[in-house]
Symmetry: C2
Subunit: 225 residues, 2 copies
Amino acid sequence: MQIGILGGGSVGQTLGAGLKALGHEVMLGIREVTPETLSQPRAQARPLGDWQGATGARVATLAEAAGAAEIVINATNGRGSLEALRSAGAENLAGKVLIDVANPLDFSRGMPPFLLSELSGPTSLGERIQAEVPEARVVKCFNTVTAAVMVKPDLVPGEHDLFLCGNDEGAKEVVRDLARALGWSRFVDLGDIVGARAQECFLPIWVRLWMTGGTPLLGYRIVSA
Amino acid sequence: MQIGILGGGSVGQTLGAGLKALGHEVMLGIREVTPETLSQPRAQARPLGDWQGATGARVATLAEAAGAAEIVINATNGRGSLEALRSAGAENLAGKVLIDVANPLDFSRGMPPFLLSELSGPTSLGERIQAEVPEARVVKCFNTVTAAVMVKPDLVPGEHDLFLCGNDEGAKEVVRDLARALGWSRFVDLGDIVGARAQECFLPIWVRLWMTGGTPLLGYRIVSA
């Protein structure tokens, strides 16, 4: 499949490399493709020029990556996701499965981050994205684990769940198939896109577990009667 | 032990009955003890007069329940917890283990509730309680599961974790002992009371899982590398 990834940080790079290795065509979109943006150092990730050389995937603009794609993944910083989707263009997203991997984190007070007040509580980033691009088939998924675990779930030994939600059942099945190819086998469907409120609440938990437990390689298993 | 429970709703009643059944002395505190408050119907719980008769535990004022107790449990509605603790009296809480079971839920827009903005994000109810009664040894615990599971964890089959956090290691051990007597065996220590931000984030997840999965009998297991 042709997959467009929006965002050149560690999440976008890790997902892109993982999906390319499965045989998908991957185009990674950033705001501007220039010699500077391709060579600039990135937190916990390679310069994009190096990533491009190593993976064989292509770096392009947000609009190019979305336009060429059958499946689009939003791997931008949550604070900037709505703006990035505007740059990608509603016409490039219409009718497509849009996997929202982002979290609306506020780092303005340093670590630990917390959820941006305007994107939490009685709303969520996932809902706001679906409202921003109503013709896209938004599925919130993968946002509850660190990037390395998204593409290699067995880095966390033992059974753990992948959460997803969205309004379009067919789109959720596409996402489950993609996740199965990466090694995921247990899914918890949180219903329509309002479930993003719950899914994004894993982030403060995840960060705290990482701080107190010393490893970002974490997963959750839901147990019920 | 002498246990004082603040709050006469289903959580307070369930915890009180469960701890009484273990042989503890339980006094349940409410704002005013009158024939009316003892006979008034309560959501998902018995009138307190009936509860008193059935359990052999006593209903008293918030200050009486806290004053007599060795361990105090805050089982009030999260929105009213700080006010209830003021009524209980700082002098009745000083030096005592105070288990905060409450969640800062906002039901003002109906179901599902979300976290009260003034008690979430860069703060939490647990932290606000510790600041309100600095001489109490606050431990946030039991707030991530429904009342029935608090006192009978095997209602949820399979291994699941009990989360706790607080500034006082000795107080946390007291709480673990109390929980072990109720049947809990797996604990996840989220560090100091700032961990309450993470623990309270389980609530939106829990409510969503209940809505989509159909049962409130839910637990979480943390899996890590």
